[in-house]
């Protein structure tokens, strides 16, 4: 028998091309304030922040198997954190955004400890209940504006255009950052651990994979990402109301984007975000039918094409733009 030399390969030609294209795109987008209308910039802020949210949800559900319907908790916490640090405590805007993200992550610690007592579908509802608790607490505290909410007054310290550009660049960093951080995390041992846990938790545990710690870490990362995105979203929107900031629709959008694009892949949420915004532009006049369609497509994709749009592409071509899989290749 001849011994065959094997090596572990990660980068492939399509991924290298993808990297090049991606970098070029990021540079073009970063120069947005030079070539884009204000309205376009505002739409792009929504695109980038939603992309970040979707990547976080994907990290939780697609990689760690934690199906959360409560990520809106962190969007809201990010928003109210921003209000707290910028308006009440007078920190500069950028610092407030960061502080809000950290605060959200700290609150995620006890949240995870509670939520992790549940599994599967009950875990999903549990996270939703906890989000509702946060919403109710905020609604009942009048200093936080109660049910009618508050407006970010600190925003008026900066002139409109500068604020828009600042928010835009921040959103771009957050969006690209979410993709990059997810990719980097999955390339390391965490990625292997998650794959093992996804395949069989028991086996992973018996092999010494720290299951609880791994899931906990992922939950905190997602909390940070969602809180950060939430703060940036409301830095743009300015008016924070509990009903909207803690709305389950945030999670519904995250789910739609990830499912359509492809769960458990990094490319998926990118494609999903594009599809989502395309649909939103074309169907905005149809009211609730738009959401019916969203729901129907998500259901259909889950049952028929479980791996989403990117899954269909990857199955045909074998491409991987963000190669987190370690391929075993024969090396001559």
């Amino acid at each position: 028998m001849n011994a065959v030399a094997l090596r572990v390969q990660r980068a492939t030609l399509p991924s290298r091309i993808g990297l090049g294209v991606g970098l070029a795109a990021v540079v073009v987008l970063a120069l947005g304030p030079l070539w884009a209308l204000d309205s376009v910039l505002r739409t792009l802020i929504s695109v980038f922040t939603l992309l970040a949210l979707a990547q976080m949800w994907n990290l939780l559900a697609g990689y760690a198997g934690l199906v959360s319907i409560g990520q809106q908790a962190y969007v809201g916490l990010g928003a109210y954190g921003l209000l707290l640090f910028a308006d009440t405590l007078g920190l500069p805007l950028l610092a407030s955004v960061l502080a809000a993200a950290v605060a959200g992550t700290l609150i995620a610690v006890p949240t995870a400890l509670l939520a992790f007592r549940l599994r599967g579908g009950y875990f999903a509802i549990g996270t939703w209940v906890i989000a509702e608790v946060y919403r109710l607490v905020v609604t009942n505290v009048s200093q936080l504006g109660g049910g009618s909410g508050l407006t970010l007054r600190a925003a008026s310290t900066v002139d409109r255009t500068t604020r828009l550009y600042l928010t835009y660049e921040l959103a771009l960093v957050v969006g690209v950052g979410a993709v990059v951080v997810t990719y980097l995390l999955l390339r390391r041992r965490l990625g292997l651990a998650l794959t093992a846990i996804r395949d069989s938790e028991q086996s992973a545990r018996s092999l010494g994979v720290p299951v609880f710690r791994t899931k906990f870490a992922v939950y905190l990362v997602a909390a940070f990402g969602c809180s950060l995105a939430g703060a940036v979203i409301y830095l743009n929107l300015l008016r924070v109301q509990p009903e909207a900031a803690f709305s389950v629709n945030w999670t519904a959008f995250m789910i739609f984007i990830v499912v359509i694009g492809g769960v458990g892949t990094i490319e998926g949420p990118i494609i999903g975000t594009i599809v989502f915004f395309a649909l939103q532009e074309t169907l905005s006049g149809y009211g609730a039918w738009y959401l019916v369609l969203l729901g129907a497509v998500a259901v259909l994709v889950t049952v028929v094409a479980r791996r989403g749009l990117w899954g269909l592409v990857a199955d045909r071509t074998g491409w991987s733009l963000f190669p987190v899989q370690r391929r075993l290749e024969e090396h001559w």
């Binding site: 599967g120 579908g121 209940v129 608790v133 609730a288 998500a298 889950t302 049952v303």
Partner: protein, 290 residues
């Protein structure tokens, strides 16, 4: 209001919650499926009743004769035609995604067809009639009827599970679907029957709640949350636990509302979180939710 009165009102409300929780608990017990559209389906039932009552002026309680069999059929078809396909393999994602998607679809369909207006089912004099138990305690006829109905449904379900062939099929299929196939049980049919029964109970619950309070297309998730909290507080794997959980939740909410009007639901949530933190198996439960 005296505190006794508050607790009694809470128990009566709790009966309704127990009824909501029953269907959720049954589906989870038989096939480990959590139906996130559970609450929304109760709203569908209420709207169907509303449509019937608009066309034919009867007391809404009569619509049970139509709505319950209707939702029974819908449940069977839903499970057999859609949800069974999400249960293949051990992936927790598809059932959550599909039922969540269903929830969004139902809410927005109802919104388009019926508008966001608040609706109510008028059951006439029975709604406001009450029994004088003592000088300071009056028990409403309708809430009492609700509690009695809830207990009745739970007793019926318990009997179904323990004494009938279908009940044995439920338990066997839930234990070991492959061995169940070896003894001739078709899990697709067994699961569909479980969902059918679950939705039938949801229809009853939806109707009673529709009489008791107003409803809108988007209030489904709130009911799901109450049903879920009742199940967890009471404990998994026990029908009487579901009743207990509902009662505790109802009392917690009414006590909370007594302290301050906005605190009712929050009080219930906090009790749920406390149970989750300190006694995850619930009051009467036999399994840990994790």
């Amino acid at each position: 209001m005296t505190w006794v009165n508050v607790v009694v009102q809470g128990l009566l409300l709790g009966g309704l919650y127990a009824l909501f929780a029953t269907g959720l608990s049954l589906m989870f017990g038989v096939m480990r499926l959590v139906n996130l559209a559970h609450g929304d389906l109760s709203i569908v039932a209420a709207f169907v009743a509303l449509a019937i009552v608009d066309a034919v002026p009867v007391n809404p309680l009569w619509t049970l004769l139509v709505v319950v069999p209707l939702l029974f059929g819908v449940g069977y078809l839903l499970q057999r035609g859609l949800l069974n396909f999400t249960l293949r393999g051990n992936d927790p994602l598809p059932p959550v995604l599909v039922t969540f998607g269903l929830s969004i679809i139902l809410q927005n369909l109802l919104l388009e067809v019926f508008s966001a207006d608040s609706q109510g089912l008028d059951a006439g004099r029975i709604e406001n009639a009450s029994i004088r138990v003592s000088d300071r305690l009056a028990v409403g006829w309708f809430p009492l009827l609700t509690l009695v109905t809830a207990v009745g449904v739970l007793v019926g379900l318990q009997l179904l599970l323990s004494r009938t062939r279908l009940g044995r099929s439920f338990r066997a299929t839930s234990d070991d679907p492959e061995a169940a196939a070896l003894v001739g049980l078709d899990h697709r049919h067994v699961f569909a029957m479980a969902t059918a029964i679950a939705l039938a109970t949801v229809a009853v619950a939806g109707l009673f709640l529709g009489v008791r309070t107003t409803f809108t297309p988007s209030v489904g998730p709130t009911r799901l949350i109450f049903a879920f909290e009742a199940v967890i507080i009471g404990g998994l794997g026990s029908i009487w636990g579901t009743l207990a959980g509902g009662l505790v939740l109802g009392v917690a909410q009414t006590l909370g509302a007594q302290l301050s009007p906005g605190w009712g639901v929050l009080a219930g949530n906090l009790v749920f979180l406390a149970v989750l933190a300190f006694r995850p198996t619930g009051l009467l439960g036999r399994e840990v939710p994790a």
